[in-house]
């Protein structure tokens, strides 16, 4: 079994699977059970100011998107930060960390945007023996209305300022959790770096309305006939999260900034994908909330098997795909492929035909006996047929070799060439 020991911005844990700051990490009882189940680390549910804690709604806090068999695809929540007194949380954190010294225990924090609030609370929390901090600049609902959470995360200057206050208050690593509810993830990431952040974690949840009650005409979850936007998470957000992780990982200014990948991580494969794009570890929430803590066993066994098969160390995986994330303009325009339908695998459903004929390039022919074949002289290799085909591997993309003629254009396949030098590119021509 591959060694999954992970060191993330100086914090070591037996595996790279942390539970994200959320209801699963709300209290000592849960966190002990999570550690017993095998989780490498826990980001404790966000701590707030001393004094009367926040309150939550007493109606439903979650909304969901389901597949036909009630597979939970996306989850939305309107829960706030911890609604338990600060002292109670600190006492519990101290006890847990003492009993699980090998696990990562991170304190998530969110207090009002002034220097005193942050500088007072950080050293106090550090006394628990926690391994680091995560600054919650991400929650898009409720707390943001009070000038916290994503209200901070959406203003790069605030991120930099608060991060600096925290770094001035502790020697422990400071991770800045980013909101995806912005235009360009690089601005907040660079701001965190300027403020001295040791790492960033992303994404927090996405502003969302999961469903509308068509009888009551209210967003859901519905509280007494009204709803509010919540934070969207779960498998549905993974593609958005992975793009943001990759953008930070390949941006020269932030390339060395450790990233904790969050957003729809459900299986070992999701974790491996995040890490290949540059995440040093991952945080999980929705999958645990859907299936319980036990899923970490599959994540551990799966990632180990994968690393063994690839003969890679965990650290080799991190960022392995980052160099292959590029801009559109650098994609090889002389890479020509054609869809090929394997007639032995084809079950003649005709989905490829309907998709291509109605919505793409009219490049699939249907014979009277329902045989579907690709017209190479029409096929632009868009891949839609591959995506809508219900049989995995039935339709594949064949790459034409150099010199082979593309029947659609009548031209032979040439060497690598991209848009920057393409004759149709006005900028390229004028540059000559």
């Amino acid at each position: 079994m591959a060694d999954l020991t992970s060191t993330f911005c100086g914090i070591t844990s037996p595996n790279p699977f942390w539970l994200a700051s959320a209801p699963p990490t709300d209290k000592e009882y849960n966190v002990r059970r999570a550690f017993e189940a095998g989780w490498g680390g826990v980001v404790w549910k966000t701590l707030g100011e001393e004094g009367p804690p926040v309150v939550n709604v007493n109606g439903p806090r979650y909304g969901a998107i389901h597949g036909a068999d009630r597979r939970l695809l996306g989850l939305n929540n309107i829960e706030l930060i911890t609604d338990r007194p600060l002292e109670v949380n600190l006492e519990e954190m101290t006890r847990v960390k003492k009993d699980y010294p090998d696990r990562a225990l991170i304190a998530s924090v969110m207090v009002p945007c002034d220097a005193d609030s942050w500088k007072n609370i950080i050293p106090r929390i550090a006394e628990t023996g926690c391994d680091g901090f995560e600054l919650n600049f991400g929650c898009p609902h409720g707390m943001a209305e009070r000038g916290m959470g994503s209200a901070v995360g959406q203003v790069p200057e605030y991120i930099e300022m608060v991060t600096r206050w925290c770094k001035e208050s502790t020697d422990l690593p400071v991770i800045v959790k980013l909101t995806p509810n912005i235009t360009n993830i690089l601005y907040p990431a660079e701001a965190a770096l300027r403020g001295g952040a040791d790492a960033v974690s992303l994404i927090n949840t996405i502003n969302s309305i999961t469903s509308v009650n068509l009888d009551a005409f209210s967003p859901e979850p519905m509280i007494d006939g009204k709803g509010t936007h919540g934070g969207y998470c779960g498998p549905a957000v993974k593609p958005i999260a992975m793009n943001m992780v990759a953008e930070i990982a390949r941006n020269p200014a932030t390339a060395k900034l450790p990233i904790s990948g969050i957003g729809g991580v459900t299986t070992w494969r999701d974790a491996a994908e995040f890490m290949a794009l540059g995440a040093g570890n991952v945080q999980v929430c929705t999958a645990a909330m859907t299936y319980g803590f036990k899923i970490v066993e599959e994540m551990i066994s799966g990632l180990s098997q994968y690393l063994d098969e690839k003969e890679m160390a965990l650290s080799d995986l991190v960022g392995k795909a980052t160099p292959n994330v590029t801009d559109w303009q650098y994609l090889n325009l002389n890479h020509v492929t054609k869809a090929v339908i394997n007639q032995d695998d084809c079950i003649n459903c005709g989905r490829c035909y309907a998709a291509c004929e109605d919505t793409s390039h009219q490049a699939i022919e249907m014979s009277p006996d329902r045989t579907f074949t690709v017209k190479d002289d029409e096929c632009v290799a868009c891949n839609l047929c591959v995506n809508v085909c219900p049989i995995e591997g039935c339709i594949t993309m064949k790459t034409l070799g150099k010199g082979e003629v593309d029947e659609r254009t009548g031209k032979p396949v040439g060497d690598y060439a991209n848009w920057t030098t393409h004759p149709n590119n006005v900028a390229a021509v004028s540059a000559e």
Partner: protein
């Protein structure tokens, strides 16, 4: 005094009184909402879907399944009823494994088709449970059409004609409408009086008058109908039954399977319905299976089904054969009845093994006997009571693609008419299409 399956002879009450309801309950209970969503999600929404082509009534299967998936089973039912007004019964009795589900691409890919029949039932039940009849009659045309036979073909034709604004009088020899739906199929396929419920629901269209106890040659003549109505649709089914042509077949206890099924379907109390200890059903079709399985369910100790040809030639589908086997019916293939033995009442029946050579059947000379208190003949039905002078082909009333017979102004459909398999769904399609043609003809001016 209680009887058991081992009680000799033909007797009622072989099972504990309370067990009959369970024995004859729904073979495939309706899917619940979640099951329906999961089953519907398996549909690939095929282009020019093979299931739709395979359906004799061309129901738009992918569309109705998508309507189920989006939480509108009522709209799904409308899609079904537009093509097949008896879509509810067809969902229960269609041999889907040889029709839509046989050609489902998932059957081909995985050997596990989308459960089209059960989804169809889910949708049609949902709409009918609301007591909604989603069609409104067109303005009255003043035309009158006679429909002879209130089975699936007659009902489908009557509904479509009424929908178009014509006045329909539907005649049937039996006391209830429904034809084979009411009298001729196994009760576990359509329990709880479904056939009558469906008829009642269908009749909500209005404009259809039913006159029972009347048939051609007994209260009705084609000449009379032609004189009194603008068009006549014949859907008289197959009222005759083939003989065994085995020695001694007149013995007491040798019965027509269709009569047994009909009696069972009409029985108010199944515990009062007598059945033999040893029952032998002769034939290889759905009627044979329905009779054999129900004899077993009534508590017969031994039920055998004997078919003169091989398994592949059997018109009961593989699924039906497996159903019979699972209920404890023993199936003999390649054996033809030779003689019935018994002193007045049947006691034994002798068969000769057969072999098929070049399509023709020959006895091998080897024989065997089965003990029998009851023998049900299910070797096919024949046209009986067709009007004089009408052209007959292959033992059925000759019709063209839209149901026109050799007599102007007279259409025919269902089992009595040539073309198509003898299935409920085929009958519905023929009734519907003949109605469309009658309508076109009547409106010519």
């Amino acid at each position: 005094m209680s009887n058991t399956p081992l009680t000799p002879g033909i007797t009622a009450g072989r099972l504990p009184e309370e067990s009959y309801a369970a024995q004859f309950s729904d073979l495939h209970p309706v899917l619940d909402d979640h099951e329906a969503l999961v089953a519907a999600d398996r549909c690939y929404f095929c282009h020019d879907a093979p299931c739709m082509t395979a359906c004799p009534t061309s129901i738009d299967v992918p569309l109705f399944i998508r309507q189920i998936m989006t939480g509108t089973p009522e709209a799904a039912a409308k899609t079904i009823f537009d093509q097949n007004i008896l879509g509810g019964m067809c969902a229960r009795v269609c041999p889907t494994e040889t029709l839509c589900e046989e050609v489902c691409v998932r059957e081909i890919a995985e050997g596990k088709p989308v459960e089209i029949g059960r989804l169809q039932r889910y949708a049609t039940d949902a709409l009918m449970a609301k007591g909604v009849h989603p069609y409104t009659r067109a303005e009255a045309t003043g035309k009158k059409v006679a429909v002879v036979g209130a089975g699936p073909a007659g009902l489908a034709a009557a509904h479509r004609l009424a929908l178009k604004g014509h006045d329909v009088v539907m005649f049937d020899a039996r006391p209830k409408s429904g034809g084979l739906n009411e009298y001729g199929i196994a009760s576990y396929k359509a329990p709880d009086g479904y056939a009558q419920k469906e008829v009642d629901w269908l009749m909500q269209i209005g404009g259809i008058t039913v006159e029972t106890g009347k048939k051609l040659g007994d209260g009705l003549t084609l000449e009379g109908l032609k004189a009194d109505y603008d068009a006549v649709f014949l859907a008289i089914g197959l009222a005759g039954v083939n003989a065994l042509r085995a020695e001694g077949e007149d013995a007491e206890g040798v019965l027509d399977a269709v009569d047994f099924i009909s009696e069972l379907r009409q029985a108010a109390d199944l515990s009062k319905l007598p059945v033999g200890r040893n029952v032998v059903v002769i034939g290889g079709g759905m009627t044979a299976v329905d009779a054999a399985v129900q004899a077993k369910l009534l508590g017969a100790q031994n039920v055998s089904m004997v078919y003169r040809r091989g398994r592949a030639s059997m018109s009961a589908s593989e699924y039906e054969q497996e159903l019979a086997a699972s209920k404890g019916v023993q199936i003999f293939y390649n054996a033809a009845p030779v003689a019935v033995y018994g002193d007045g009442a049947v006691e034994e029946i002798e068969f000769e093994y057969t072999s098929e050579e070049g399509g023709s059947l020959k006895g091998t000379g080897e024989t065997f006997r089965l003990p029998a208190d009851q023998v049900f003949k299910a070797i096919g039905q024949t046209l009986d009571g067709a009007p004089e002078g009408i052209e007959i082909t292959g033992g059925k009333i000759a019709v063209d693609a839209v149901g026109r017979t050799s007599i102007a102004g007279v259409w025919a459909g269902g089992d009595c008419a040539s073309g198509g398999e003898d299935l409920t769904v085929t009958a519905v399609s023929e009734g519907r299409d003949a109605a469309e043609d009658i309508h076109a003809k009547l409106m010519e001016g």
